[in-house]
């Protein structure tokens, strides 16, 4: 059983986002980068499967050198080796191309990743990878169990969930509650330092989209407070002032 877990290195969820260079670059000053929270779920489930079935886990990141701390942390949590494709991950198709190229060389049984990265929120890479490899893709996956080469999956749908079955190999976009996030222990951190991390250059140069510039949302106006003993006024204001109801 070979599992590929694709991870992103993204600003911590509490980050206040700002931009530099005339709004063309993320201001990384003072920003803590973390493993994408959804990717963390994918990795945690992979580690559980490894503990149960003896799988090997390769972590893959499409990113620049500054994403290596995130990759090392994934190794500390339980991945066996890692590959970094040395490129800025700005375009979903481009990132998918890199993942597909690595997957074609190594034929994984499962390719897991988060349902979306929390920077661009596209939620598309797993599907494009599936298409490129000609195998099914499923997202967002809440539960994953294996029975031989059949995956039993629960996926969230609007207003509920559905139970699915499909044969491996599969590409899955994961989310809670597929597994509990794992925290690396000291032994994991020590061994992670010597686990192999291979850096490869990207294949293809198809960036089908680029970001011309960024913008921050306009701040909301001041909050209008309504005394609790006149709570009914709120409904009037929503009706006559905000005109939303």
């Amino acid at each position: 059983m070979k599992i590929l877990v694709c991870v992103t290195s993204v600003p911590d969820t509490t980050t206040k986002i700002t931009f530099t260079d005339n709004n063309t670059k993320l201001n990384k000053a003072g920003v803590t980068f973390i493993t994408g929270p959804y990717d963390d779920y994918a990795l945690a489930r992979a580690v559980e499967l490894k503990e149960k079935t003896g799988a090997t886990i390769t972590v893959l990141n499409v990113g620049e050198a500054d994403s290596e701390p995130v990759i090392r942390k994934c190794l500390a949590i339980g991945a066996d080796d890692a590959i970094r494709v040395n490129a800025e991950p700005t375009d979903a198709y481009f990132v998918a191309e890199q993942i597909a190229a690595i997957a074609k060389e190594n034929s994984y049984d499962l390719i897991l990743m988060g349902r979306e990265s929390i920077d661009y929120n596209g939620g598309q890479v797993h599907g494009i990878v599936g298409e490129m490899l000609g195998i099914p893709s499923i997202s967002p996956v809440m539960l994953l169990d294996l029975d031989g080469d059949t995956a039993k999956i629960t996926r969230e749908i609007e207003g509920g969930k559905e139970s699915l079955e499909a044969k491996l190999p599969l590409v899955l976009g994961c989310q809670e509650p597929i597994a509990e996030w794992k925290i690396p222990n000291m032994r994991g951190i020590m061994t992670a330092r010597t686990k192999p991390l291979k850096v490869v250059e990207p294949t293809g140069t198809d960036k089908l989209s680029t970001v011309a510039s960024y913008e921050l949302p306009a701040p909301r106006g001041a909050v209008k407070m309504i005394p609790a003993d006149a709570a009914e006024t709120l409904i009037q204001l929503l009706h006559t002032e905000a005109k939303v109801i």
């Binding site: 298409e131 969930k161 559905e162 809670e176 089908l208 609790a228 709120l234 009037q236």
Partner: protein
């Protein structure tokens, strides 16, 4: 060359978000000097399909194969790709949804298309093809320059307000060749709360957090939601505690919604929660703690006990 819109059905009816997508697609078609065609898969009657015309589509391709009656992202991608090829479409528009997400990614892979997700405005076609989208979970926007020959725009709810006109679309049956491989995933069972307003589609949302103290207290939330015809939502701790289903969880790791009105009850407003709701048009916060950070991001606030305030709001709505 027409702009192609992937429109979804919910129990045989055109989804509200798809009406928005059709209207948006028709506007883009106008900008490009072409027409708008909708591609719809699954069972629906002709009157319903033709109603796409009200929102600006002149033609509807109806994929009638019974195998498509169950939503299937992979098979729908095959259908939409075939439709795009038949129509020579260079721009494909759809509304974000769990089905659309699954379909779009496969489609982008098939067509090698430039893709912008969470689009919130009409594109600027004066110099290239630039679309504004929401990124960093609503904390910022990006102006995406789509360079590929074929472009896919996945629009967020409330990107555009559809205006209806008195027109109907010509409906044509569409029967592309389906791939057996697209049916490799078998659906064993589906659990769906029926009759409720779907959260991602809802114009109004009443949401509650740990301030409600327990799942048995949700009736005050549900009553207000019912009076407003709103969907109910919840914070992450509430879904983690299993007080409410995960499909109601809004925030950084849950659904990102953009309704006209979001009422947060007993939710303190952690930045991760705000990320999922900050593109709502109007935000109301009700919390007994005057220092709850959420008040800073709200349009209207009430410092008070939700068990006192909510029933009074419900009555006031009923009296409107």
């Amino acid at each position: 060359m027409s702009v192609l819109i992937f429109a979804e059905l919910d129990e045989g009816k055109l989804k509200k978000s798809s009406q928005e997508a059709i209207f948006y697609g028709a506007k883009v078609a106008e900008m490009l000097g072409t027409s708008a065609t909708a591609i719809i898969a699954g069972a629906a009657d002709n009157t319903e399909l033709a109603s796409a015309g009200k929102f600006g589509a002149t033609k509807v391709l109806h994929a009638t194969d019974a195998k498509l009656n169950e939503p299937n992202g992979m098979a729908y991608a095959t259908v939409v790709a075939a439709a795009a090829q038949q129509e020579g479409s260079k721009v494909i528009v759809l509304a974000k949804s769990s089905l659309a997400d699954a379909m779009t990614a496969r489609l982008a892979g098939k067509l090698k298309a430039g893709l912008a997700a969470n689009v919130i405005e009409l594109p600027n076609v004066s110099n290239g093809f630039v679309v504004k989208s929401s990124i960093y979970t609503g904390k910022a926007f990006a102006f995406n320059d789509l360079k590929a020959d074929i472009k896919i725009l996945a629009i967020k709810k409330n990107t555009i307000t559809p205006e209806e006109k008195d027109a109907s679309a010509a409906v044509e049956a569409f029967t592309p060749t389906l791939n057996e491989a697209d049916f490799a995933i078998s659906v064993k069972s589906t659990e769906k709360s029926s009759g409720d307003i779907l959260l991602p589609e809802a114009d109004f949302v009443v949401s509650a957090g740990r301030g409600l103290k327990g799942p048995e207290n949700w009736s005050v939330v549900e009553d207000l939601a019912k009076a407003l015809h709103a969907a109910t939502a919840c914070s992450k701790p509430v879904s983690d505690l299993d007080w409410r289903p995960h499909s109601e969880h809004v925030g950084q790791t849950g659904l990102k919604i953009s309704p006209n009105l979001y009422i947060a009850c007993g939710i303190s407003g952690a930045i991760q929660h705000l990320a999922g709701v900050n593109s709502s048009k109007v935000i109301v916060v009700i919390n007994k703690d005057a220092d709850a950070p959420f008040f800073k991001s709200a349009d209207y606030g009430i410092v008070g006990d939700v068990f006192d305030v909510l029933p009074r709001l419900t009555k006031a709505v009923q009296a409107l």
